[in-house]
Symmetry: C2
Subunit: 305 residues, 2 copies
């Protein structure tokens, strides 16, 4: 793919009224924006849309979706078990192809500015788009949720990055940029959760393991599972995590049963896993038939696809 | 990719006159046909073009290329170390996406019929498109080359499948269909060619190894190499061959150094290698971000890309 592609995973604080989520999903699908996945949860009272496309189209779709959500969702009424700061709660932009994380930060800032200026909503930037270190972490930005923000927005530490210093019924929007996150679980051939917990400690960054790996040991349907978020697969790709888990498990006489991928895997992670299995460190997408054909087609077609 | 894609790898008996190969390459690139690779060899006096696209477009391009080659190449003069039966010597069609080998056989037969009828060239079908068991093998069809065919074409066993029972200066064309072939070599951490030869015997089908694997042990730049053709990667994918070689090598105290891919790898082989490394047996292209985006784009765009 020679064009620029970003993904956005906006979270909306509505998981019960299907017609509202339909309206948001319709608004986001402006030409060039492709809805890849949609999920709503009643208890969380929250919906997550996964969209992708060329950056300018995705920004237009997101802006329209934020506008509809602000009209339709009233945080004074909304209740759910998931914490939230606004009708559109979080909008992460994720680089997929032909674009860097830094370029996504620029896009996030532009989107936030437009939401603040034209929709009159307070906006906070987080993760790679954060303007202050204490706003990098999403949970910190959302601390106290909508209700506390109403009381505290006039405090200097809660000054929005864009938009009015004033909270309406639609609350605030948290906009940011982050690398692609791979949610990846490995089931072990044991029912002993202690083994999974021990391996999780060994492989996760927070206890001295692999960088950009978050891991927990769980018991799922009676089977031990190492449940992970790989927050930067360029730093630690999934095949390296599998290798580390296999070695740790083998040391205590346990084998890997199978893995589970929640959501999607970027093509680069696929290529690096195959390269590892085949001892072909240089394997690139130009050596894959369908990808080479696609590139030839794109090159021969000056229209945006 | 939701559309049908085939690859064709026509071999032309001209590797010296660049202007002739240029004319053939220009003729083949009709709209929708993408030239992926081109190689010419002076000693072989032969050129190989790799093209891909939607089936109908590829058939038009091939027919035009065969017409140009028949006009420009005179087998009565042509000499080279590579055996050949005609100006366009061999035309294999290869299923890539959304199409079966059997459907490629139908396409090969249609192409051969049109070459016979409209260009007046004798045509033989080989491999999956063969009409008789003794024509499946390319070397058997080409035995004695152009010169003997001129003398023998009137014999019943050499009756062409299409076209006249008569050989002109452009010779005959061999048209067929076959699965994608992966040319894959594994270098060992040893300079002892006997180890590579022993492993080649263990893994190749002809001596009781893995099905659809051809293998030779070679010494390349002082390093032992298992050189392979994987003639049906759906039967034996490359990661399974690597695993078998690693086990064989390990048994004699040798390790794999690295592999080498000659040409391209189909996406399905990439997916299965990654699935193996990640313990994700069900991994499909719909779980790869860029592929999911591409599918969404194709679905939203009724124009052929």
């Amino acid at each position: 793919m020679s064009m620029q592609i970003i993904e956005a995973v906006p979270n909306f604080s509505e998981g019960r009224r299907v017609e509202v989520v339909d309206a948001i999903a319709a608004a986001i699908q402006t030409p060039g924006v492709h809805l890849l996945h949609r999920t709503s949860d009643w208890d969380h009272n929250r919906s997550v849309l996964t969209v992708a496309g060329e950056p300018e189209a995705v920004l237009v779709g997101l802006w329209q979706a934020v506008a509809v959500a602000a009209q339709q969702i009233d945080l004074r009424q909304q209740r759910g078990v998931h914490p939230r700061l606004g009708a559109t709660d979080v909008v992460p932009l994720v680089p997929i192809a032909g674009i860097s994380l830094d370029e996504c930060v620029v896009l996030a800032r532009r989107l936030g500015q437009r939401i603040g200026d034209e929709l009159g909503l307070p906006v906070y930037f987080y993760e790679a788009a954060a303007t202050r270190p204490d706003r990098r972490n999403l949970a910190a930005v959302r601390a106290g949720e909508y209700e506390r923000l109403v009381e505290e927005i006039h405090l200097p530490r809660r000054q929005p990055d864009c938009g009015p210093t004033q909270v309406g019924p639609a609350g605030a929007v948290i906009v940011g940029a982050r690398p692609f996150l791979i949610a990846f679980n490995v089931f072990l051939k044991t029912g002993d959760v202690a083994v999974a917990q021990q391996i999780a400690r060994a492989v996760r960054e927070s206890s001295g393991g692999l960088p950009a790996v978050k891991a927990l040991g769980l018991l799922v349907d009676g089977q031990a599972q190492v449940s992970m978020n790989l927050v930067d697969f360029q730093v630690t790709p999934p095949h390296r995590v599998v290798e580390a888990i296999a070695a740790q498990a083998s040391a205590v006489g346990v084998a890997i049963d199978r893995s589970e991928l929640i959501g999607l895997l970027p093509q680069a992670a696929l290529l690096s896993a195959a390269a590892h299995a085949l001892h072909l460190p240089e394997l690139g997408s130009e050596q894959v038939v369908e990808m080479a054909i696609r590139r030839a087609m794109d090159a021969g077609n000056p229209e945006p696809l």
